[in-house]
């Protein structure tokens, strides 16, 4: 296997982590939707926490993406 092919494979494997992140972000927003549906008046408080959780989870995706970019472009 030449290096370019191995790099492409490695980058592909690195972004498998996005599956977990997808599940995580889906969980966060499903919880956010159901909590707002139960208590619409809490929307403002819950929304900030939800966005914070989204950003923290999304960071994991970006770590994986960064590794993929590092493999591909360096």
């Amino acid at each position: 296997m030449d290096v370019a092919a191995a790099k492409a494979l490695g980058a592909g494997i690195a972004v498998i982590a996005l599956a977990g992140v997808g599940i995580g972000i889906g969980n966060i927003f499903s919880a956010l939707v159901s909590s707002v549906a139960r208590n619409p008046s809490a929307r403002d408080q819950v929304f900030g926490i939800g966005i914070l959780g989204f950003a923290l989870t999304e960071a994991v995706a970006l770590f994986a993406l960064l590794i993929a970019f590092l493999i591909l472009f360096t």
Binding site: A4, L52, A55, A59, L62, L65, F69, F73
Partner: protein, 251 residues
């Protein structure tokens, strides 16, 4: 990949070079430093010209300045409590420095200084040193009880204490890498899709039509990056507040 085919140079945009001619070269004043100065000047200008009228019914600029102040004041008092008022200037500076750094970086021909790990790591280390110093000043040596939560069985202490120490020390790492990775990933994505556009345009008339796809994607991405720029500054500020809360209250 055939030779001569255009390759994607995604990381080239993060290269530093000096600005302002020979003066900049002699003191190594790079475009990153220039953008830092510009973002600082914008914040100071906004606050200075915003706070000057002192009108009861605020104009646009004054409303913006009051909004900035109010946003951080509410964030700090929500997260840290009344003791948090002391940390308001620190969190305010941190938030708006990062926010304007992220936003200025989205303009064409500029540079995102938060896309360098050196900058974000410096900010994160600043935060963690401040948090530790504050905790030590308020609680003295009692601070070290932070690493052993109240009510935990003593038998488990050989496991809990190292885990708590590692999680405490990994805070600056995750704080800096989160901001840096977000900015780098966004800008690399811009570059990749822009390169697709150039490659497709090289394929002739059909390519010009096909290039509309990546162009549209880049437009959407720009909207998303505007959101991310604000969100990451907010996350950085919120996490700083949470760490300060831990330092002031110890769990």
């Amino acid at each position: 990949m055939a030779a001569g085919e255009p390759t994607i140079d995604a990381l080239g945009q993060f290269k530093l070079h000096t600005v302002l001619g020979p003066i900049g070269r002699s003191v190594n004043f790079t475009q990153s430093n220039l953008l830092m100065v510009v973002s600082g000047a914008i914040i100071l200008g906004l606050l200075y010209f915003g706070a000057r009228p002192r009108a009861v019914v605020p104009g646009r600029l004054q409303a913006a300045a009051e909004l900035m102040y109010d946003f951080i004041a509410r964030l700090v008092s929500d997260q840290i409590g009344d003791e948090g008022r002391r940390f308001f200037p620190f969190v305010f500076t941190l938030f708006f420095f990062i926010l304007f750094g992220n936003l200025l970086g989205l303009l064409p021909y500029t540079f995102t200084f938060t896309s360098h790990i050196a900058v974000t790591a410096a900010l994160a280390i600043l935060v963690i040193v401040l948090v530790t110093v504050v905790a030590l000043r308020i609680h003295g040596l009692h601070f070290f009880s932070y690493f052993f939560p109240k009510g935990a069985p003593v038998l488990l202490s050989p496991i809990i204490v190292p885990v708590e120490i590692i999680s405490y020390l990994s805070r600056p790492v995750s704080l800096s890498i989160r901001l840096f990775a977000n900015m780098v990933a966004g800008h690399v994505m811009f570059e990749v899709f822009a390169s697709f556009m150039v490659m497709m345009a090289g394929a002739g008339a059909i390519g010009y039509l096909g290039a509309v796809g990546p162009l549209a994607l880049n437009v959407v991405l720009m909207g998303f990056e505007l959101l991310v720029a604000c969100l990451q500054a907010y996350v950085f500020a919120v996490l700083t507040c949470i760490y300060l809360h831990d330092a002031v209250h110890l769990h």
